[in-house]
Point group: D2
Chain length 335, copies 4
């Protein structure tokens, strides 16, 4: 039984508590939050879990094996670093850290101490993304040509991170998970409707050397909620609508073949539209699978689906997007 | 009765013929197309209209008052110029010309000869866009903060113009029609999946000095057809879905108020979600209204809704988008 | 070339004219309508077709081979009878006649004179219904257990026939086409919101001896248009939404197996929900296929898909529905 | 603080426990279920609540004030009767009892002992139904002409009650709540695809003397889930789609006026389609409001929204529907 402490009981913390509580490999011993009213809520629902307003009571408790951190991003690095230094396995909410340098330092410490360091990119554990991964890996889709994601809604303005840092990690982690190729460069534009210069609408294009292109449209100021991803291959195309209760993925037997008619020196494009297939996707709660993946990593050294590499890739893209926005959309090469 | 000749009977020409034929102020005397099989189709449906494979038979026919041009873009300038020089009123399909210089020259000639020169931005005549215009002009929406458009489908690859030149004129003309402010700059990125370097997917962000932002997502390679525009004001927001048969416009009583809590030095954003209103929009065919607008311009010197100024604005944005794409997304100041 | 005359140029007549005009086996020689303003409209679009306000000018014209009748139902019998007696092949709009006795008399005359007598159940020629037919005939769906149809909208109140006679022929003809079993009995209820006792809302249940059941919900007074049919088999189930532009048919790999657990004396039902498949359906206009079917029947004696038997079956069900409504929903055995 | 015991911790029980637990006027002291595995689940989540496999431990416990009963319908009467006789206030899940005689006896006992007797028609507490009620009571909709409900899905076959008893209570309670007029008669038809003659598909038409008509389409064997209610008034019409996450109610400014043109002796119907309005509905959980309504009834003698009268009305309609189905759809006068 892994003894786990959870730091942060705000928006996402209750989901972590519920899922670690439901996992037979974990025992939640303590939860920390600086706000006592949040801890009161916790105690009503889980009278047997200890509470504290000081995260150090978790990080430095020698009886605790693992720590899950669901606090504002700017606190991630220091909390995770201290936890790792105290020999705890660490799960970080997305985005992993504020800078890629911080992420790299955490990875270095965790690797040196052979501790699990995982980032909670929950979407990688959904039935939908698992199915898409399988469709791409089995070459059903063919060579992937583009990924186009829209993730917009009337959302909470975050004071410290812009809309890309808030919403795009979901989609960038999916991109990284699905597509083997390393991104080459990116362009980002956006606008802030507040006085603090934090973008509430932003657009991100990620370029790849092969001609594959990915685009992300993120907004906190849309009257409607949209969670739509299009993935185009040269055999088939996928529409992934995360708001559909049961028909999340539609596979279109649609494509275009490009030929050059040499005689006529003309470009010929053959279109094809055909049947549509909606596979049943596993209904298991993604967060439950994530918790179990963390357990297996701690207990058996298993590689996790969502790992620090994808965590770092996401941060590198977000960091470069900051630079592009600051330089008014200029192309930034991704390191 | 205005005697009109129509050049080009391809994809759009039949719509022009049907609508000018149905307008009591026009009499179609001749239709030109270089392809005799297209002219045969015309004759079956309209046995009384003259046909010709030579556009000059229309442009130089002294009995003809007006010319509508629905040919590939690269031919627009020369055809329109000759027509104007021969004293004809001219209607051009979108996009108006290949360059802003050409557009400006046509405008100069038309103005000098006091001839009508109009660009067929059909969407400006739809009940939906007319209603949105009225909602903005009456200040129902409040100050407009963003416009976000997605226009994607499995579309014909054009050999000579990229997907922005093909699809975005609709949305850029709507933008120009709705928003008084001049665009300041733009960024465009895209990708070509063919060997001729014509982009089949492209993204365009148009920046305005006031903080208003417009974004356009265009693709010929989407398995699903989407025609969706979001317009956010600080009072209300509009979702315009052109594929909805009857509920094209939804007005959301949704907004966010941004305040700074000076004591706490914090940013406070108040959210509001409320009722939704779906106004009935006029069902009249847009092209019929466009034809009548052209007639009134010729007969009574009336200003047209879709005019050469919006035609030129669209070309300037498209031209700058070419330059931005060539410079890998660099910000281009719009002249 | 079959010389055809068309009687009735109201709501549906223009569709008939357009499709017979587009068929290479037909030549439309004359169109009749009692309203001269309708004939004026025709002449504008088709200047070469003769017009008349007297249907006898068509029925009794010896140069005419076939007659299509698109007039109010109560006139069908007399027009069709005279036409058949004058040796014309006859196409009748749905519903075929006002009574089954009339339908049977027309069938007798046509059979005696070896003339084609066809009813235009257009839906049988749609790609969607053809695909469903094929799914049932190939036993993909398994034993069909129910058919549930909703066909409602804000529709024209007909003065002479109720909403079942107006709307249900489409669905009943589909039922008859798909399911071999003869209906046993029916129950119908409805309400009239007008003073003329013509039902504007009506519900029809058709019972079959095998346990198969069909239900039809028809209304002229719905604020929304719905065209939805569910067909449940014991292997798979079909949802047919005729308003979907491209995804009209969805095949659900969904079912239930009923077992009796003898030990426990309990009923056990196993549920299964699985993948969904959306086949591409042929986009050809149904009416064009219907016209060609009529041509083949006249020229080559080929059996038509929509024939007088299905026409008669529809009338028998409608006739019995009248009786059930009059008897306040009582079960009526279908002859 | 009202001390409450809950009998039945199956499908619905956990929702009752969660909501009574969250209400400040209730304290859950005991939960009974015959299945110890269900009680184990309860204890994991609520370690402080007492458990028992014997409902009498609740009903006869003198320290308990109120009992909520969420067991199979056939057990409702005996449990509720004993509870009332032991001086407990009683909340019954829908449908209230197996017969109207039973319901009337419970009402008699509760009235005699001045105890609260309430039926949990949860839907009456939803923001959507509350808004519809208000639209009807304020005469916004005008005179209500019809109510048409479809409630179908792939559902659990109940061994003891048919699909009408399982699903229709929701819609019949809404009908009773919204419409003052007493139903006059009904017709019901259905089919059983199992050997135990329990209908899994059934159709119910309820007739009213004023010409108002209500129709209910219920099925356990639909591949898709539909929860759709249409309510037509002579001013406006409502579409209530309970599966819409935020736009549950749409109000259509649609109608038809019926006139008789005396001169022509013709029926004239004027159609009107206009704007659509989607009011924001309260997001509070319906069951929480129901629990509070029960509390206020016990503490302050307040009338409840969902009361034994609506419970009894539902049972009378269900009882008559049984008789109609048995008599093959014959009209049954509702007592």
């Amino acid at each position: 039984m892994i003894k786990i402490g959870i730091i942060g009981y705000g928006y996402w913390g209750p989901n972590l508590v519920r899922n670690f509580n439901g996992n037979k490999n974990f025992s939640i011993v303590k939860v920390a939050d600086t706000r006592s009213e949040r801890l009161n809520l916790l105690q009503k629902a889980y009278p047997l879990i200890e509470i504290t307003t000081n995260p150090n009571d978790i990080i430095k408790d020698p009886s605790i094996d693992a720590v899950a951190i669901a606090t504002p991003v700017f606190t991630h690095f220091q909390l995770a670093k201290t936890a790792l230094e105290n020999g705890k396995h660490v799960l970080l909410e997305k985005p992993m850290t504020s800078t890629s340098q911080e992420a790299e330092e955490l990875i270095r410490i965790a690797s040196g101490k052979k501790l699990s360091l995982m980032v909670d990119h929950t979407f990688l554990y959904t039935g939908a993304v698992q199915k898409i991964k399988q469709l791409i890996d089995s070459d059903t889709i063919g060579k992937v040509k583009y990924l186009d994601s829209t993730r917009i809604n009337l959302g909470l303005f975050q004071p410290d991170i812009n809309v890309l840092w808030d919403l795009a990690p979901h989609d960038i982690s999916i991109l990284t998970h699905l597509v083997g190729e390393k991104p080459y460069s990116l362009n980002a534009t956006g606008v802030s409707h507040t006085s603090n210069d934090v973008e509430n609408i932003a657009y991100l294009t990620v370029n790849f050397e092969s001609g594959f292109i990915a685009h992300f449209n993120c907004s906190w100021t849309s009257p409607v909620k949209i969670r739509l991803m299009l993935i185009g291959g040269d055999n088939k195309m996928i529409v992934y609508n995360d708001l559909e209760p049961t028909e999340k993925i539609k596979i279109y037997d649609t494509g275009y073949d490009i030929k050059t008619d040499e005689e006529k020196q003309n470009l010929l494009v053959d279109y094809r539209t055909g049947d549509i297939f909606i596979p049943k996707t596993a209904p298991t709660e993604a967060l439950a699978l994530m918790a179990e993946d963390f357990a297996q990593s701690i207990l058996n050294g298993k590689d996790t689906v969502s790992n620090f590499n994808s965590g770092l890739s996401v941060i590198k893209i977000l960091e470069a997007s900051n630079e592009s926005i600051k330089n008014r959309g200029k192309e930034i090469i991704i390191k």
